[in-house]
């Protein structure tokens, strides 16, 4: 079972993503802020991380940078999942090491397709 980590400060958004991914064969973890995300990522080494940007404390860019610079976590596939949809935000996301970028609001079906596409290949 592939491990997926959802990082978002909004509980409703986490719940939405969790429900969206329910029908696949995944083990889901949730983090409400950056620090929690780093902790879970190190312990569980998820195959995929869905990462929000605007969060209190450490923001998504910092979390992504940290994860990609850490040998234990850099193999995780990171999708930035954020309301920050401007061009320079997307560019910044790729600069700090994100593998993909998904702008809110999003369609749950599309997200599910994306996730299955990313995780399906190596399964």
């Amino acid at each position: 079972m592939k491990k997926i980590l959802i990082v978002d400060d909004e509980e409703r958004v986490r719940r939405l993503i969790e429900t969206t991914l329910d029908i696949g064969d995944f083990q889901i973890f949730q983090a409400k802020d950056g620090e929690e995300a780093l902790k879970i990522a190190q312990e569980e080494k998820p195959a995929l991380i869905l990462l929000d940007i605007m969060m209190p404390g450490m923001d998504g860019f910092e979390v992504c940078k940290w994860l990609k610079n850490n040998s234990e976590t850099k193999s995780s596939y990171i999708i930035m999942l954020t309301a920050k949809g401007q061009k320079q935000d997307i560019e910044k996301g790729y600069t700090v090491g994100a593998d993909d970028y998904f702008v809110k609001p999003f369609s749950p079906m599309e997200l599910l397709n994306k996730v299955e596409q990313v995780l399906g290949g190596s399964d």
Binding site: T20, M54, G57, G85, Q86, V103, S107
Partner: protein, 773 residues
């Protein structure tokens, strides 16, 4: 007697030769007299200097040599006393000059006590060690003539003392101290006496011997540094004070005082003798000057004879010489007198070919020239008169022209002379200062204008002093009404003959208006810069807002889109469906509020004011409804309400006030993790007061002044990433103020925030506006 200038040439000439001869005779006499006198005095002076040298050397050298030998003898004798370890005499440099142990002489003392005595100048005793043995040492300062010149140290063995029982030691110590003191003191006394006696006796002998060597010496006296005679060939003088001006002069620092006393026929010389830099005393010598005066008398007689001889010879020679010169000159004088009276045709007769003859010829030529010149002058003066007349007319024209120019100059202009007095003052200057030209001409310019700058900055003063123009000086003067006027002045010196300034000219204009305009311009410029800065700030805030607003709108939309799609595409149980629908409903409300806020703010932006539609409304109902709604959105907060009884209906726009309450409650929940949220409503001063207080993170002091600014979201980085547009408080403030009320925030970081607003019950001054509408 006739005055000298009326004497005839003959007499003048004769007198001149006679006086020349007398002068020559007297000069030779004076020169020889002076030469002789000086050489006599010089002899005596050099004799005295030699004497001084001899005396100084004898006195100082004898003292130094004698001191050491005799002192050493004395010290050795004293050392034989029982119990005595030794005696040391040292000079002020701690160098031993006499000691029981001869080998110590010339070395620096090893005593620990002597340095203290030399420093402090009084008796000191105590235990010390000497040559490895414990001893008791006592030292006493040695003073000669009151001046510290060394110390005497008496050292005792203390074997006996060490063998004594402790109880008696003190007694013995005391005895030893007394003994030591007496020993040191008496030694010092003996040395002092020795010194004094030896000095005087030796000197006296020397002086007497020297005085006997020359019969011309009347007196040789030697004084000490205080002027007391310590040796003299006139024995009555010894020990008296030599109170005369020559000695005093030398004592006060001069190197030589000498004088000839003609009444007493004495020549007196006083000189100092020194040891190093220090004055040790004065040598005073007086010579008999009998020989000197005898020689002078001889010379005087010889000189007188010489003078008389030359006078007689001179008179004779002069008379003989003048005879052939005088008579032709007399005749020439007669002709000259006639010539002066106007008889230019008169001529002198030429009688000889010597200088007189030549003079007559020259005279005749001169008379001829004079005649010609007079004719010429007469002719010329006639044309000159005409020329002067023409020039005067031209000058008058030139003057009128200059005056016209001065008058027409638009700037104020005045001129001054070297005494700073105003000499001209044009019309523009009159207009500018209020003074009339006739009021100021002849007065000093500084007194008229009363400017402080006249003292240091005045251009006309500078230009006169430097001789160059001084341009564009800004200064201020006072006009006739004593009002200050800012002027711009330029000045130049007026040059007279030889290029020296004879005064100055200053041109000035009133620049008060220009200065005011410049000040205004500067102010406007500053305001524009301020405005530009504000605009930039607003622009930055707006960009930030756009990014925030986009995020804020997308977040509820995510919920709406996501959950509605799930509801449509998934088969869910009833409970989940209901839950998802609630999410969608709540986010819709949130979105609606957000959109409301955005619309409000854009309305304010567009119109600059706020439209409200008032009704008589129960405020408590609105508050209750909102609290009820927010209660469901959080389970970490507790809501407390404190409402006063009998809150009357208020004249407000229910939608807008509800928006304020929502904004404040939303903030209270958002910026506190949990705890109490207290809402109070009460009546005071004709207003209804509403306060909403949380126990959240609070607002830093530095952010407080800006929290009502549009888009302002504080400076804390963790807040900036939280949801929010920075519009809630700004819009709330606009709404409350549109109702005639006020809103305030009190906050402490870590304690919580309290927002209070009030609304006048009758709607305040806005009521009339509403009715009219």
């Amino acid at each position: 007697m006739r005055p000298i200038r009326d004497l005839s040439i003959k007499t003048k000439f004769t007198l001149a030769i006679i006086s020349l001869l007398i002068l020559m005779g007297s000069a030779s006499f004076c020169i020889s007299y002076m030469l002789e006198k000086n050489s006599l005095l010089k002899n005596m002076k050099s004799h005295a200097i030699v004497l001084n040298k001899a005396l100084t050397i004898s006195i100082t050298s004898r003292k130094d040599i004698a001191d050491k030998v005799r002192l050493q003898e004395l010290v050795e004798e004293v050392s034989l006393t029982e119990g005595m370890f030794g005696v040391w005499v040292v000079d002020t440099n701690q160098r031993v000059i006499a000691a029981t142990f001869r080998e110590d002489v010339g070395k620096i003392t090893e005593s620990n006590i002597i340095p203290q005595v030399l420093e402090k100048g009084y008796y000191i005793s105590g235990f010390d060690s000497r040559m490895g043995e414990k001893v008791f040492a006592a030292a006493y300062p040695l003073r000669i003539d009151g001046e510290l010149c060394g110390a005497v140290e008496a050292v005792f063995e203390i074997r006996e003392y060490l063998q004594t029982k402790k109880a008696f030691r003190k007694l013995i110590l005391r005895q030893m101290d007394i003994d030591a003191r007496i020993m040191a003191e008496s030694l010092s006394y003996i040395i002092r006496k020795m010194e004094a006696v030896r000095k005087i006796v030796h000197l006296q002998r020397l002086v007497k011997k020297l005085a006997g060597e020359s019969e011309n010496i009347y007196e040789i006296s030697v004084t000490d540094e205080d002027g007391r005679v310590i040796a003299s060939n006139i024995e009555e003088k010894i020990k008296t004070i030599a109170d005369n001006k020559w000695v005093r002069s030398v004592m006060s620092g001069s190197d030589l005082a000498a004088q000839l006393l003609p009444s007493q026929k004495l020549y007196i010389i006083a000189m100092p003798f020194r040891k190093g830099e220090r004055l040790e005393g004065v040598i005073y010598v007086s010579y008999r000057a009998d020989d000197y005066y005898k020689n002078l008398a001889k010379i005087f007689k010889f000189g007188l004879l010489l003078s008389i001889g030359s006078v007689i010879w001179g008179v004779f020679f002069a008379i003989q010489l003048s005879k052939p010169v005088i008579s032709p000159l007399k005749r020439l004088t007669e002709v000259t007198k006639q010539l002066a009276r106007g008889a230019l045709e008169q001529r002198a007769s030429v009688e000889s070919r010597d200088e007189i003859g030549e003079l007559a010829l020259a005279f005749n030529k001169m008379a001829e020239d004079l005649k010609n010149s007079r004719d010429e002058i007469e002719k010329y003066s006639k044309t000159l008169e005409k020329k002067v007349e023409e020039r005067t007319k031209e000058l008058a024209l030139e003057k009128d022209k200059i005056e016209a120019i001065l008058k027409s100059i638009a700037d104020g202009l005045f001129t001054i002379d070297r005494q700073w007095r105003i000499t001209s003052f044009n019309e523009a200057a009159e207009e500018l200062t209020g003074y009339k030209a006739e009021e100021v001409i002849g007065k000093k310019c500084m007194e008229i204008f009363k400017a402080d700058e006249c003292k240091r900055n005045c251009p006309i003063k500078k230009s006169i002093e430097s001789g160059r123009a001084c341009l564009n000086v800004e200064m201020s003067i006072f006009d006739k009404n004593n009002e200050k006027r800012a002027i711009m002045a330029s000045a130049a010196p007026l040059m007279g003959i030889e290029n020296k300034p004879i005064g100055g000219v200053e041109v000035f204009k009133d620049i008060s208006e220009i200065k005011r305009l410049i000040a205004n311009l500067e102010k406007t410029n500053w305001e524009l810069l301020q405005m530009q800065e504000e605009l930039k700030k607003a622009d930055r805030a707006k960009t930030e807002f756009l990014s925030t607003a986009s995020h804020e709108l997308r977040t509820p939309l995510t919920t709406l889109l996501g959950y509605s799609e799930l509801l449509l595409t998934r088969s869910l149980d009833e409970k989940t469906k209901e839950e998802f629908l609630t999410f969608i409903h709540e986010e819709s409300i949130h979105l609606a509020r957000l959109v409301n806020n955005l619309l409000d703010i854009s309305r304010i932006e567009a119109k600059g004011e706020f439209e409200i539609e008032r009704n008589h409304v129960q405020l408590l109902e609105i508050i209750q409804k909102n609290i009820h709604f927010f209660m469901h959105s959080t389970d970490t907060h507790r809501f407390i309400t404190k409402f006063e009884n009998n809150i009357p209906p208020v004249w407000i726009d229910p939608e807008k006030i509800s928006q304020v309450i929502k904004n404040l409650l939303d903030n209270a929940i958002k910026y506190s993790k949990g705890g109490d949220i207290t809402c109070c409503v009460y009546k005071k001063d004709g207003c209804i007061w509403v306060s909403i207080e949380d126990q959240g993170i609070g607002i830093p002091k530095e952010d407080l002044p800006y929290i009502f600014d549009k888009f302002y979201r504080g400076s804390r980085p963790d807040i900036v990433n939280m949801r929010g547009t920075g519009l809630g408080l700004s819009i709330s403030k606009q709404i409350v103020e549109a109702h005639g009320g006020e809103i305030k925030v009190e906050s402490k970081v870590g304690k919580g925030t309290k927002v209070v607003f009030n609304i006048p019950i009758n709607g305040g001054q806005h009521e009339e506006d509403i009715n009219r509408r």
